[in-house]
C-alpha cells in the first residue's frame, strides 16, 4: 500500500505538468517535507513512546541554519544542510539529555518549554528579522548536481529523501536498537530488569529524530523561500504531533498519510470553490470536526484503515 502511495507521488510532476497545474507540485512537495518531519517525530513518539511537544524546534533550527548562512553569503547547499542536521542533532542532544530522563506529562512540558525558548530567541534576534523573519534570497546551491529553483527537480529531491527516511526508519525500528526502543515504551520496568539502561537508547533516538527533522527544516525554508520564528511555534509542534497520531502511531506509512491528510484537507476546505463560502470562511472548524471523527472512529489512525494493514513494526 505504501508502495502504491509512493508511486502515485512519483507520478505527480508529469501529471501536474500535463494539466498545467504547478500549484499541486508545490502543495505535494510541502506535504512530503512535513511527512519527513512527521516520520522523524514518529520515531520517538510512536516507537519510543516519547511524546515530544517541541519537535518544531528542529524544523526551525534547520531552517535558520540555511537562512542565516545564506544571509551571510554562504549558499553552498552541502554546507548549509550539514549545519542544519548537525545543529539540530546538537540541540536535540542538549534538550534530550534533560528531557529523556523524564516521562509522561513532564516530558511533554520540558520539550515544549525548550522549544518556546528557541521560538522567543528567534523573535528577539533583530539581525535575522526578529518577529517578521526574513526572506531566503538564494536557495541552497548544489552546483552541477541539482537546481532547487527547478520545481520538478526539487520535488524529486524531496521525494528521494522521504523514501530514504521511510526506509531508514523501517530498518531502524526493526534493528536491535529499535526493539530496545519499543521495549522501553512497552514496559520500562521489565526492560531495566532484563538488563537494559533505557537512557542512552532513548537519548540516541531523540538525537536521530532531531537530526532528521533538521533536514526537513532545511527543505522547508527552501520551499517557502522565507523563514520566521513561527516555524518553531508550539502550534507547529502540535501539527506535527497531529500528523503522526492521525496517520497512525508507530506505523511506517502513518506519518506520510497524516501529513497528506492534514495539509490537503486544510487546502481543500480553505480554498476549494466547490465548497460553500461558509465552509471556506470557517475551515478550521470543519477541519476540526473531521479530525475528531478520524480519531474517534479510526483508533489505529489512517494507516489502520488501509487494505493490507500495516503491521505494528
Amino acid at each position: 500500500m505504501l508502495v502504491a502511495i509512493m508511486l502515485l507521488l512519483a507520478a505527480v510532476p508529469p501529471i501536474a505538468a500535463l494539466f498545467a497545474q504547478p500549484f499541486y507540485l508545490d502543495l505535494l512537495r510541502r506535504v512530503m517535507i512535513f511527512a519527513i518531519a512527521a516520520v522523524s517525530l514518529n520515531l520517538i513518539l510512536g516507537y519510543g513512546g516519547m511524546v515530544s511537544f517541541g519537535h518544531a524546534a528542529y524544523l526551525g533550527i534547520g531552517a535558520y541554519a540555511v537562512g542565516v548562512l545564506a544571509y551571510h553569503g554562504i549558499d553552498n547547499g552541502w554546507l548549509q544542510w550539514a549545519v542544519a542536521i548537525g545543529a539540530s542533532a546538537l540541540v536535540a542532544a542538549a534538550i534530550g539529555s534533560i528531557s529523556v530522563r523524564t516521562s509522561g506529562i513532564y516530558f511533554i512540558m520540558i520539550t515544549l518549554a525548550f522549544t518556546q525558548m528557541l521560538y522567543y530567541l528567534g523573535i528577539s534576534i533583530e539581525e535575522y528579522g526578529g518577529d517578521d523573519g526574513m526572506r531566503l534570497g538564494v536557495r541552497s546551491q548544489f552546483t552541477g548536481l541539482i537546481d532547487l529553483n527547478d520545481p520538478t527537480a526539487f520535488y524529486y529531491l524531496v521525494f528521494a529523501i522521504l523514501v530514504l527516511f521511510l526506509y531508514l526508519t523501517h530498518r531502524l525500528v526493526n534493528s536491535r536498537f529499535g526493539l530496545v526502543l519499543q521495549a522501553v515504551r512497552s514496559n520500562e520496568a521489565r526492560t531495566r530488569a532484563i538488563g537494559f539502561s533505557p537512557y542512552p537508547y532513548r537519548l540516541a533516538a531523540f538525537v536521530i529524530s532531531g537530526a532528521m527533522c533538521g533536514l526537513a527544516g532545511a527543505l522547508l525554508v527552501n520551499q517557502t523561500a522565507y523563514l520566521t520564528p513561527e516555524f518553531m511555534n508550539w502550534t507547529r509542534s502540535g501539527e506535527l504531533m497531529f500528523m503522526v497520531i492521525l496517520g497512525g502511531i508507530a506505523t511506517t506509512a502513518g506519518p506520510l498519510l497524516g501529513a497528506a491528510a492534514l495539509l490537503l484537507l486544510e487546502d481543500v476546505l480553505q480554498g476549494s470553490s466547490l465548497l460553500p463560502k461558509w465552509v471556506n470562511d470557517h475551515w478550521q472548524l470543519y477541519l476540526g470536526v473531521i479530525l475528531i471523527l478520524v480519531v474517534l472512529f479510526a483508533r489505529r489512525g489512517l494507516a489502520g484503515l488501509l487494505p493490507g494493514r500495516e503491521r505494528n513494526d
Partner: protein, 249 residues
Amino acid sequence: MTEPLLETRGLRKTFGALRATDHVDFDVRAGETHAVIGPNGAGKTTFIKQLSGELRPDSGRVRFAGEDITTLSVPRRSHKGLARSFQITSIYRDFSALDNVALAVQAHAGHSFRFWRKAREDAALREPARAILDKVGLVARADVIAANLAHGEQRQLEIAMALATQPRLLLLDEPVAGMGTDESQRMIEFLAGLKGDKTIVLVEHDMDAVFSLADRISVLVYGRIIATGTPAEIRANAGVRAAYLGEDA
C-alpha cells in the same frame, strides 16, 4: 563454610513511620531455594525490591557473589547475574512470546547500538530464546502475541525472560500468583526442575509451593525476619505459628 551467594546486613527501609524493612540480615547459599514468606504487609515486596535494585535501602548493605551491590542500578545487577520475575505479570504485551525472550537474550549480548540488521532474523538471539521457550514448555506458542497468551502461559513467559538473562540467582516474586490449581501445580513442577541448577529466592503466598520447593524458609513479619530454617523447623516454630501460620491456615 563458603560465603553465601547473596547476603544482606542490617538492611533498613522506612516509609515515614513505617519500618518496611527493619535490620534484615539474610543469607542465600549458592544452589539453594530460599523462600521468603510473611503475612500481607510484612514488607516482602519492599525487601525484594532492595535485592533487585528498584529501591535503595536507608542503611545496610547488599552483597552478591562477594561484591557490594547496594548502590548498583537494576540493569547493572542484571549484568551481575541477578534476575527477577514480577508478582504482577510484566511482559511486552504487544510482542510475540519469542520476541519477549529474545529481548532478554539481547540485553546480555553486548550493546544494542546496532541500527541496521533485523533483530528478528538474528539467529544469535532467536535460537537461544527458542531454546528457553522450549525449556519452559512454551515453544509451541512462540509466535503468539504475549497479550493473547493464557494467564498461566504469561507467568511462564515471565520466568523464561528471567532465565534468558542467564542469572546466577533468580528472584521470583509470587510465581504462582493468580493461577488455578492445575496451573500452579505445573509451575511448581517446573520450578522444582530448576532447583539445584539455579539459586532461587522465592517470595510466595502459596504454602504448597513454598513447602514443596524451599530448602530453607525465612519468615518476614513487620519488616523483621523472625525465623529462618528448614521447612520442618519453620513448621515447628512457635513464634512463626503465632505470627503467621496460625492466623492464615
